[in-house]
């Protein structure tokens, strides 16, 4: 495995009975990058992460973390990774500090160093005043902070974050990403899953997963380029009717409501074609403004590449 890779998988596959949750995934995450691991609910992201942690054995293929095969060295891998699961998995009947002491101990932080590290992370994540509060009594945002703190006490080289900011507000999210940035500065590699597209913007590179497969990899700019045709926004009086009409029309990829605006994506062409669509809506008796071009976002690409598949519905459950 090349020195500069923190994660490399080759044909990584996990089957549960007849259902293939992860389907021949080839993934390379470079040392020191923040990598966004995107995909629909049930597309196989969490299963992949659990295999990378050594918590779940692959059915086929291989995965290396920090140069070590996950099958051969599951214990050593646990020493170099930190993992934050999607749901709060810490002890509700233990205080913030007790949870940190327990996790520090499990991960083998030297006893003389542990109190100092706990103090540092309590302060960094504003957990200090909650030190004696029980895990169960913390707000969602505080539980997320505590989960992160417990995962980084042993100074992992690779941090795996599974939807770390689900349900938290922009202030907490920003703080999380500030911490992620600091960890990156210290040389930590971070792989993070999210459904929040502006969070994906903050990653160096990302992948999109669909029904167990990786369907795109790139920087945020490269991913946006993959959104397909150009995107326009229209102000229209009768939004629902316009949406109905556009569903029927050829040459369109996506049409979706956005406040009072309607956004649509062309399969081909640019301003002239967009004008044509506006004119056509007017012919149907709708009150429509001139279309304005919209900068593509990661969400556009997400919907273009994964939107038609209904992947979450076919999750084989």
């Amino acid at each position: 495995m090349p020195e500069d890779l923190a994660i490399r998988t080759e044909g990584l596959t996990k089957k549960f009975g007849d259902f293939t949750a992860v389907d021949h995934v080839d993934l390379e995450v470079r040392r020191g990058e923040v990598f966004g691991f995107l995909g629909a609910n049930g597309s196989g992201k969490s299963t992949t992460i659990r295999m990378l942690c050594g918590l779940l054995a692959p059915t086929e293929g291989r995965a290396e973390v920090s140069g070590m095969d996950v099958r051969e060295h599951p214990e050593r891998i646990r020493e170099v990774i930190g993992y934050v699961a999607q749901f709060f998995y810490l002890y509700g009947d233990m205080t913030v500090r007790e949870n940190m002491e327990l996790f520090g101990g499990i991960y083998g932080v030297p006893e003389d160093e542990l109190p100092g590290r706990i103090d540092r992370w309590q302060e960094r994540l504003d957990l200090g005043q909650y030190s004696r509060v029980l895990g169960a009594d913390l707000s969602m945002g505080m539980q997320r902070r505590l989960s992160l703190a417990c995962a980084v006490l042993h100074q992992p080289r690779l941090l795996l974050l599974d939807e770390p900011t689900s349900g938290v507000d922009p202030l907490v999210r920003r703080e999380f990403f500030d911490v992620i940035g600091e960890l990156q500065d210290e040389g930590t590699t971070i792989l993070v899953t999210t459904h929040v597209m502006d969070e994906a913007e903050r990653c160096n590179r990302m992948s999109l997963m669909d029904r167990g497969r990786i369907v795109a990899v790139g920087t945020p700019a490269e991913i946006k380029e993959m959104s397909g045709g150009r995107i326009y926004s229209l102000e229209v009086r009768d939004l629902a009717k316009a949406l109905d009409l556009l569903q029927e029309r050829e040459g369109l990829r996506q049409a979706q409501p956005f406040g009072r605006q309607l956004q649509f994506q062309l399969a081909q062409g640019g301003d002239d074609e967009a004008e044509e669509i506006a004119a056509w809506l007017r012919d149907q008796g709708l009150d429509v403004d001139d279309p304005e071009p919209v900068r593509p976002t990661i969400e556009h690409t997400f919907l273009t590449l994964l939107g038609g598949s209904g992947s979450e519905e076919d999750d084989g459950q």
């Binding site: 507000d169 903050r202 949406l243 994964l306």
Partner: protein, 313 residues
């Protein structure tokens, strides 16, 4: 605005839990047919406000009217006119999608044929038709959320109240969700939701920002963006983190937020700020590709207004 055009009106609505004032004198007017988003940080009072206006929880003081009915005086009358989807809503895991919807219809004493018609229409719209017989216990989060929405709409409410409807839901289910929401205003249904997500807020017609129980700002998403103090510059640089470090301590810079390969740099009004930013980057040896003024994002507005903590006109 006369009372008839209002789907929701609150006046000085307040709720206290011990020492904490969760909702502190909130007065809001939400017109019929609006899609209204209440946004704010963790613990700002969003969920409490939703519970107060839906009659699930009683206010300490103030007034709340929903579809012309007084929530505090007659919470039962309000329930006939309202649909409410809470964060912790529950469906019957051992019943199918279809059975859950039918059951909900029965609870509201809806005529069977009307429930049937609604159900077909909604299942089609949400892409759930082929899963109608699947047990709810075996659905993913996004699908459950869509079934919850159908159940909340089954009594044809005039006002639909949604508490963080798409937390943890992927963009595809979110799109399906918003397909339904966008059809409601034309049918005369008013939607009131709260969310911690700014990309969801961008889909609303009007927004109010709440922090520590008080409303700090109101307006359309476009108007909210304009409320940011000063100017926001978009700075693209090869080394975004180095650029961020170089700018954070400048006196004219209020806030630096990384967005992928760019930074949003909120600066004091005026020309000098741009040159100061350029100079600081040069001194730090950071190659900047481009600096230009941008329309602030909703997230920029959120951070600015919540951090300042005062009511913004």
């Amino acid at each position: 605005m006369s009372g008839d055009d209002l789907a929701v009106r609150t006046e000085d609505l307040s709720k206290r839990f011990g020492e904490t004032v969760a909702v502190d004198g909130v007065s809001l007017e939400i017109p019929v047919g609006d899609v209204f988003g209440l946004i704010g940080p963790d613990g700002a009072g969003k969920t409490t406000f939703m519970r107060l206006i839906s009659g699930v929880m009683r206010a300490d003081s103030g007034q709340a009217m929903i579809a012309g009915e007084d929530v505090i005086a007659d919470p039962e009358a309000v329930k006939q006119r309202m649909g409410y989807l809470s964060q912790a809503f529950s469906l019957y895991a051992d019943l199918s999608i279809e059975e859950n919807i039918d059951f909900c219809g029965d609870l509201y004493l809806m005529p069977r044929d009307e429930v049937q018609r609604m159900k077909e229409e909604m299942l089609e719209l949400t892409d759930l038709l082929r899963f109608r017989k699947r047990l709810v216990g075996r659905l993913s989060g996004g699908m459950k959320q869509k079934v919850g929405l159908i159940c909340a709409l089954i009594n044809r409410p005039q006002v639909l109240i949604l508490d963080e409807p798409t937390t943890g839901v992927d963009p595809i289910s979110r799109r399906d969700f918003w397909r339904i929401i966008s059809q409601l205003p034309e049918q005369g249904v008013t939607v009131v939701l709260c969310s911690p997500y700014m990309d969801e807020a961008a889909r609303c017609r009007h927004l109010a920002m709440i922090s520590r129980g008080r409303i700090l700002a109101e307006g359309t998403p476009e108007e909210m963006r304009q409320k940011v103090a000063g100017t926001v510059l978009e700075v693209t640089a090869d080394d975004v983190r180095a650029a961020s470090r170089a700018l954070s301590d400048l006196s004219s810079v209020r806030r630096v937020t990384p967005f992928g390969d760019a930074l949003h740099v909120q600066v004091e009004e005026g020309r000098e700020a741009v040159s100061e930013v350029r100079r600081a980057l040069g001194e730090a040896g950071v190659d900047e590709d481009e600096i230009h003024e941008m329309v602030p994002s909703l997230e920029d507005a959120f951070m600015d207004i919540v951090t300042r903590g005062d009511r913004v006109a």
